[in-house]
Amino acid sequence: MTENRKNKQVIRRHSAHAMIIHWFNTVCWGVLLVTGLGLVDNPVLQPLGMWWVRFVHSAFGGGAQLLRVHIVCGAIWSIGLLLYGIIFLKSATLVFIKEILTVSLKRDLRWLIKKPLTMTVGPKIMRRLGMTPEIPDQGFYNVGQKLFAIPALFGGMIIAVTGWIMTFSKQDLTGVDTVQWSILIHFITVGLVFAGLLIHIYMAAIAKGELPALISMFTGKVPADYAKHHHRFWFEEVTSQEPESDPSLR
């Protein structure tokens, strides 16, 4: 096998259902962020500015309609993800949770220090500071991805539960104080997950060398050399088991 052919090999990284749920989540988060932020119609509680509230209110034909869209979309999103999590419990959900919660402290800390430095000050300055710019090898997810996946998963659960509590406020399932705390927790959790989302979008779609990752979210496949460079432990695991086969067919 020539080096050239090897480089053009592709490895299955995402199943079709994983890609669907990813883009389903993307669309829902987009709608929920736009509408949710627009619902905070109060200058002392609104973080972005009242221009956003006015813009979204007029785009959705008023606050009541906006609230309805937010609630319906939130219901579709949370029920959709819950069903996905249950249906693919063994093949995806538990594998995912295990993967994102498995860290190798020393290696991952080194990754967390070096990777942002290569992205900001750059390898030249790192070398000048006496630091090698080589970053430690990683598995299916690197620790940066894990650090976003954890708040996305558990933050998402918090956001969904607090959202349902607010939705059922008028059914008196909980006291009003629980509703008030839910609004606050909902807001903070979304804010923090959104900060992670900014990095996720940049790292996965814009950063140099990451185009294969973005494409893989549509095709499900990554080039072998990309996998080798970015997720070496996963690459070695996949290629050592059945080098010629497509893992998705297993």
Binding site: L39, V40, D41, N42, V44, L45, Q46, P47, V53, G63, A64, L67, S104, R107, K114, K115, T118, M119, T120, G122, P123, K124, P133, E134, I135, P136, D137, M166, S169, K170, Q171, D172, V176, D177, V179, Q180, W181, I183, L184, F187, I188, G191, L192, F194, A195, G196, L198, I199, Y202, I206, A207, K208, G209, K228, H229, H230, F233
Partner: protein, 254 residues
């Protein structure tokens, strides 16, 4: 021109007939046990008589209830100065209720949303006065547009001494005036939003702004660097080269 609906109350005229309370209850279908308006009773200092002080939502110029509402359901209408509740936006969280120094709000037991005096909005649409004003036999309640210089309320406010009933710590600038003197004056409570709303304002907004702002700046910085330092190899590229020529430390892999 925008109007500013105001009530001027001569509490010395009130003899506690409770007609305003009943009229309001009926007009606004206020459930039993709740109320949109009130009459405070207190003994007079000089004689053994009583003093009666009618009141309702003060439609404050600095409404703390509006500041506490997360959805904008409670708002001060800039067209007429009335503090209103958009029923379809109220999620019934009740944050506004303790934020009112006057206890002018309650959570409707059936609708589960907040209800309060709106100066009988539906009556006013048909050109009528608020029910409590119209029914008062001694005309203790005077209602009108303060911005109209010829209105009775504007003229009365100019010609007579008036007082307002406020909490000393949290003056919400109430828009109900009492002619000459009234009692009691010390009953409004400190306007305090529930703790989650206070934390939202004081902690959550700066926190979320700070974290997302710094993250956004970080991303912009990385993007800028990516555009400027185009030819610089990335860490993992050199990593792989290093590995290929065998100088990478294998201890990294446990």
């Amino acid at each position: 021109m925008k109007s500013k609906l105001t009530m001027i109350i001569d509490s010395s005229k009130c003899f506690h007939c409770k007609a305003c309370l009943v009229a309001c209850q009926l007009e606004n279908q206020v459930p039993v046990g709740f109320r949109r308006n009130w009459v405070k009773v207190s003994p007079l200092d000089s004689t053994d008589g009583m003093h009666f002080q009618p009141g309702n939502c003060m439609h404050c110029d600095k409404p703390t209830c509006v500041e506490a509402c997360p959805t904008g359901a409670t708002y001060k209408d800039s067209r007429d100065g009335v503090v209103k509740v958009r029923e379809d936006l109220c999620i019934g969280c009740g944050s506004c209720i303790p934020s009112c120094p006057y206890g002018a709000r309650y959570r409707h037991p059936e609708k589960k949303i907040v209800d309060k005096c709106d100066y009988c909005a539906s009556r006013r649409e048909t050109g009528k006065l608020p029910a409590c004003v119209e029914i008062c036999p001694t005309q203790a309640r005077l209602f009108g547009d303060l911005n109209d210089v010829n209105s009775p309320v504007a003229r009365l406010l100019k010609s007579k001494k008036t007082v307002r009933v406020v909490n000393n710590e949290t003056d919400t600038e109430p828009m109900i005036f009492y002619v000459n003197q009234t009692a009691p004056r010390d009953w409004p409570v400190k306007a305090e939003a529930p703790l989650p709303i206070q934390l939202w304002r004081q902690v959550a907004v700066p926190l979320v702004k700070g974290v997302t702002g710094l993250t956004g700046l970080g991303v912009l910085f990385m993007l800028g660097r990516q555009l400027v330092a185009k030819d610089e190899p990335l860490g993992h590229d050199t990593h792989d080269e290093a590995r290929d020529i065998g100088i990478n430390d294998r201890e990294q892999k446990e």
